[in-house]
């Protein structure tokens, strides 16, 4: 199964991926429309000591968010591996149980008329997710884990943490 990987050395923090994500999840499918519709990005580029770090859902093998979801809305698709709380018979209540469970902190609580735990849905199964396609630096890679393993080894801290969780 393909995953989205981040090459931290390449990311320059231009936020193009966040705009592409918002556009993809807007009705208009473009950046201006997304802004008008106030669509939020599901990928965050955090600044860590001045260094940009894109963070997004990893669509875990055994997703803690799915275990924690008390409505059954959060599900992992058996075929595509996509973890999402949208498009199912069970609807999200915004109880934030999943937020308490996700080890990577990549679910955003959205309050408002309807509460929704907002997260990456891997563009509903698009061949290449919008964020990956948009990144001008090639810092986002969508591929099989073993292909990217070399890159992963690059970052000891990430490895230590992902082993631990």
């Amino acid at each position: 199964m393909k995953e989205i990987f981040v090459d931290l050395d390449k990311c320059v923090g231009c936020l193009t991926c966040t705009l592409a994500c918002a556009a993809e999840h807007s009705n208009s499918k473009d950046i201006v429309g997304a802004m008008l519709e106030k669509v939020r990005s599901r990928i965050a580029v955090e600044s860590v000591g001045g260094k940009p770090v894109p963070l997004m859902c990893r669509h875990c093998e055994e997703p803690a968010c799915v275990d924690a979801c008390m409505t059954g809305a959060m599900q992992k698709d058996k075929v595509t591996g996509i973890v999402t709380n949208e498009g199912h018979e069970q609807k999200c209540v915004g109880c934030w149980m999943c937020i308490m469970a996700c080890p990577y902190g990549v679910i955003t609580p959205v309050e408002g008329e309807t509460r929704l735990a907002l997260k990456c849905d891997r563009c509903g199964g698009k061949e290449v997710p919008a964020c990956v396609a948009s990144c001008p630096q090639g810092a986002l890679i969508y591929d099989e884990a073993k292909v990217v393993a070399e890159l992963r080894r690059h970052n000891a801290a990430q490895l230590a943490m992902s082993k631990a969780v």
Partner: protein
């Protein structure tokens, strides 16, 4: 292989689903004394408030049982287990043979021995039938008293309040949410509920409940009353008792299975009897922080335990890794709040608190020997899962301690 599961909720459903993923052939049977398709007990407050109905509290699609080829006995209580003959006797006289059995009977409302508590219009809130009874009693109810300022009590209060009932919550201890939130966090949440219009009385227990007949004699009025320990009386027409839960362990009486406050299981969720497993609110497991055996009656833990039990029942050996006991209290109006692990100062514990009263933000991290062992987050909960993982996995934070308190702390700090 005959897999039999008693209990059709978080743990039981996850167990059945997991077994079906790894064993396409085996027979799976679920027995439950409730007459409903699996639903979420956590959504009962939403059902009470009218935000959800029977269809929208279901945790699986309607065809879940047929899709997974699960035989169901709904509305039938399992009466007895016979480990020697490997059968479960149902209350309707039927016996069901098993090769592997899961006990996922959960817990029930603990009703304290208060004089008058057996009277009319006094309910616990644990299952759908309780919620239905409360709704049936609602016409004619102007005032209600909730006994217990824990999670379920506050959620029930909030739900009924949104239906226009005047609510008073009475908590014996000096603060609401006493089991995991500290006084400061509780105060923020209490203020929020008070502003909403819910009355909260803390540090005062219930002496007795005066039911209608006597009430009328004493006060010449209809309705009932709650007399508090300090002598004050509260008038009301409905009482909800939310003073905690008790594990449903009766089924294993008379077997070799060890029971403390819950059923004792090993890391494979197996009990002392061969081929009998247990999971969910009914079991005691080792807590990740304290290393002690205890009940952690929350939904995520029940699900994970159900999955681990299912795998082991189906022959795939997999241990349960200790989880952290946690609470979230986000259903109360606007301020989200989450607590996990040890949240009160103690021997060898170091705690750091950051607060911003104007924004109703409060963050407390409790550490021991360079490990995070507990947290309270009020107002901003986005990184709760990251902290929770640091606690669960006992990650050494000596090198990145200062990150944890940053306003914008996030997982990225471990990567950059």
């Amino acid at each position: 292989m005959n897999y039999v599961i008693i209990g059709n909720s978080a743990a039981g459903v996850k167990c059945a689903e997991t077994i079906r993923e790894v064993d396409r052939q085996g027979n799976i049977t679920i027995i439950t004394d409730e007459a409903y398709h699996a639903y979420s007990k956590c959504l009962l407050p939403d059902y009470l408030s009218g935000d959800r109905d029977e269809d929208t509290i279901r945790i699986r699609n309607l065809d879940f049982y047929s899709q997974n080829r699960i035989t169901t006995y709904f509305g039938v209580k399992a009466q007895k287990i016979n480990p020697a003959q490997k059968i479960v006797a149902l209350e309707n006289g039927k016996t069901i043979p098993y090769d592997k059995l899961l006990i996922a009977t959960g817990s029930r409302s603990f009703i304290p021995p208060i004089p008058g508590i057996e009277g009319e219009n006094i309910f616990g809130l644990r299952n759908l039938d309780d919620a239905k009874k409360i709704l049936q009693a609602l016409p004619g109810v102007r005032r209600a008293v909730v006994i217990g300022g824990g999670f379920v009590g506050l959620e029930a209060a909030y739900a009924l309040y949104s239906r226009g009932v005047e609510l008073t919550v009475v908590e014996k201890l000096p603060q609401i949410l006493p089991s995991q939130f500290d006084a400061k966090a509780a105060k923020i949440l209490e203020k929020d509920m008070l502003c909403e219009g819910i009355r909260i009385i803390t540090g005062n227990g219930i002496k007795e409940i005066i039911n209608p007949g006597i009430w009328q004699k004493m006060f010449g009025k209809k309705g009932k009353g709650v007399r508090l320990e300090d002598g004050e009386t509260l008038k009301c027409e409905l009482i909800i008792v939310a003073t905690g839960t008790k594990a449903n362990t009766e089924l294993v009486q008379g077997t070799a299975i060890k029971v403390n406050r819950g059923i004792v299981v090993d890391e494979f969720m197996q009990t002392d009897e061969p081929d009998i497993y247990a999971a969910g609110d009914v079991v005691e497991t080792i807590d990740a922080v304290t290393g002690q055996r205890k009940l952690t009656p929350i939904w995520p833990n029940a699900v994970v335990q159900g999955r681990i039990a299912g795998l082991n029942m189906a022959g795939i050996q997999k241990p349960y890794t200790a989880l952290v006991g946690m609470q979230n209290a986000v259903e109360f109006r606007e301020i989200p709040a989450i607590a996990a692990g040890l949240t009160e100062a103690g021997e060898g514990l170091e705690e750091i608190v950051i607060e911003n009263q104007a924004q109703n933000k409060y963050k407390k991290l409790v550490m021991k020997d360079n490990r995070l062992v507990g947290m309270i987050l009020v107002g901003d909960i986005r990184q709760a899962g990251v902290y929770n993982t640091l606690i669960k996995n006992k990650i050494d934070i000596s090198r990145n301690k200062e990150f944890l308190f940053k306003e914008d702390f996030n997982f990225g700090y471990f990567l950059a």
